[in-house]
Subunit: 347 residues, 2 copies
């Protein structure tokens, strides 16, 4: 979306300059400070910066963006980087944003220098860089205007704590063969939707001095948009072009992720097929032909149609929520475009 590209073009140089300053600040500690910031300077800017853009957009609905907007937007992008870096360790995702994920970068470094136990080295280093991003995010938040500082930091901590608990639920379900549709939607809500859409929209709203009623409406819209986003994300994770997607296709199968696709598929298959699928899902060395088998089953059993139906329903719900917002027609249109984008994006 053009508007988010525009917001990114403002946020990116701000983040780059911040990371460059921090790189200098910590260069006296050791060479790993420099190493971390160099990697982050690449990693952080590779994303679409939708979360940061949403802070900028929600603030701009009422007032012109200022330094506080950029600090909060940058903090949320760094926080997002923390989550991704740790998530890639957990999900053993070697690819992210078209490049090696952080743990894979350090694992490769260990291999190049002839170390043993290279995966553990990679994971350990990436745990540290993920931790660093949390610290940087709060460093930025502490620097915003006094009137918002306490509210924003406490709110931020609270929302990301929910993300962490949902991440734990997601990990645990990956090791199980059954769960309810409610469990899955609960993970979508708390692991993705709230921090990706509700949190930035609400933070922008708080900065803009929006009423409590609008903030609550933005929260609700964020959840709906975010659940839609995640369902589409799962579908792309299985059917998209890997080069465009920037991450491995079929990884959810390998990790036994309990997605809505998985749930609807399990509902649609015979007992015999279910047994076969239970062996495929969660197999860390799943062969390509098994991923192809799952893809075909999803088409054959009309699971895709059921997913599209769910996506359309959530899109409709989002549009209803948008129409009820006391914001300008132009801003309503931008939010509706965002709904469309979430439904139709190809990466």
């Amino acid at each position: 979306m053009k508007i988010f590209q525009d917001y990114k073009s403002i946020l990116q140089p701000f983040l780059e300059q911040y990371l460059e300053e921090k790189k200098k600040e910590f260069s006296h500690v050791n060479t790993w400070a420099d190493d971390s910031f160099t990697r982050l300077q690449q990693f952080v800017v590779q994303g679409k910066m939708v979360r940061g853009g949403l802070v900028q957009f929600a603030h701009a609905m009422v007032r012109e963006n200022n330094e506080d907007t950029l600090k909060i937007a940058a903090a949320i992008e760094l926080l997002h980087s923390s989550l991704l870096i740790h998530d890639d360790i957990i999900d053993r995702d070697r690819l992210r944003r078209g490049s090696a994920s952080l743990f894979a970068q350090y694992r490769d470094l260990a291999e190049q220098t002839g170390k043993n136990d290279t995966l553990h080295y990679g994971n350990s280093m990436a745990i540290c860089v993920g931790d660093l991003c949390y610290l940087l995010a709060y460093d930025l938040l502490a620097d915003i205007s006094e009137r918002y500082r306490r509210t924003v930091i406490i709110f931020f901590s609270s929302e990301i704590s929910k993300t962490v608990f949902a991440q734990m639920q997601d990990i645990d379900l990956g090791y199980r063969n059954t769960c309810t549709e409610e469990d899955i939607i609960n993970i979508y809500r708390f692991k993705t939707a709230r921090y990706t859409f509700s949190l930035p929209l609400m933070l922008g709203g708080i900065l803009a001095g929006q009423s409590e009623r609008i903030i609550t409406q933005l929260e609700e819209l964020g959840e709906t948009l975010g659940i839609l986003f995640q369902i589409k994300d799962d579908e792309l994770g299985l059917f998209a072009d890997q080069t465009k997607l920037g991450k491995p296709v079929g990884n959810d199968i390998k990790e036994g992720k309990k997605t809505l696709l998985w749930y609807y598929l399990m509902q649609a298959v015979t007992e015999e097929e279910k047994k076969k699928l239970n062996v495929i899902f969660g197999n860390n060395n799943v062969p390509k032909k098994d991923i192809e088998y799952v893809r075909n089953m999803i088409k054959e059993k009309n699971v895709s149609e059921k997913i599209y139906c769910k996506i359309r329903a959530l899109a409709e719900e989002s549009r209803t929520l948008i129409s009820g917002l006391s914001i300008s027609e132009t801003n309503k249109q931008i939010l509706c475009d965002l709904v469309e984008y979430n439904c139709n994006r190809s990466y």
Copy 2:
């Protein structure tokens, strides 16, 4: 030390109540919120709370402790928990504070419920709980008086970032066979000393409104005390009673940690012995007899004597720094007792 036990007796109920409140706040997300807080309620209070105690002490040197002191002290203990939880994953330390470390708790849980790949499950869950502790620490810091909020949070983030870079250096050196004494002291300074002693002393000093000169003196004292503390810690890690220590003896050998003990030992041995030691250090399955061999070598080659010499020198340096502080004689005595404690502790 009696005084730190007294401070702990005030801080512990505060932390327990905080964690209990948060447990309630997040119970609507899923059962993992409850699970995390229940484990943290055990984990966090098992420590000696020296870092929290130092905040309380440094503040009390000038003014009576208040809510801010407790919030900062609690935040630093939670931050310490984050670092330990992630550190135990990195160092594969199964024991901590006399109980299973967090990753080991979750690994055991996975085993009990018949899951595969239990170590990855344990590590993944513990990454999340460590992340949670960061978020909680900042939640507490955001709630202190406005006049200190920005300074304290930015200062806190900056110091813990240094800890993270030093942790990376420590990981990397664990995979190497050589390093300088300077590298080792640099890790001691930035990975342990500054966040364990300098940071709490300085934060207490900031709260108390101490002059910049005293804050800088406390920083310097913290580094010296902390390096002493770490050298003693390494020695205990190899020679202490495991039950008293609460963590596995000889783990540094297994992980190939570049400690001062290792450095002095390598300086003292023949080329042949060095070859043998290079095989022992960093062997993840090091047998007990090899740990015993290292212990005997350390005694035989008078390495312990060299370590005691270093400890005595740092203790002397600490006492000189203490005598130069513009604080009461009673407080000087407490700090001198802390020096003695660091030299002589048995766990």
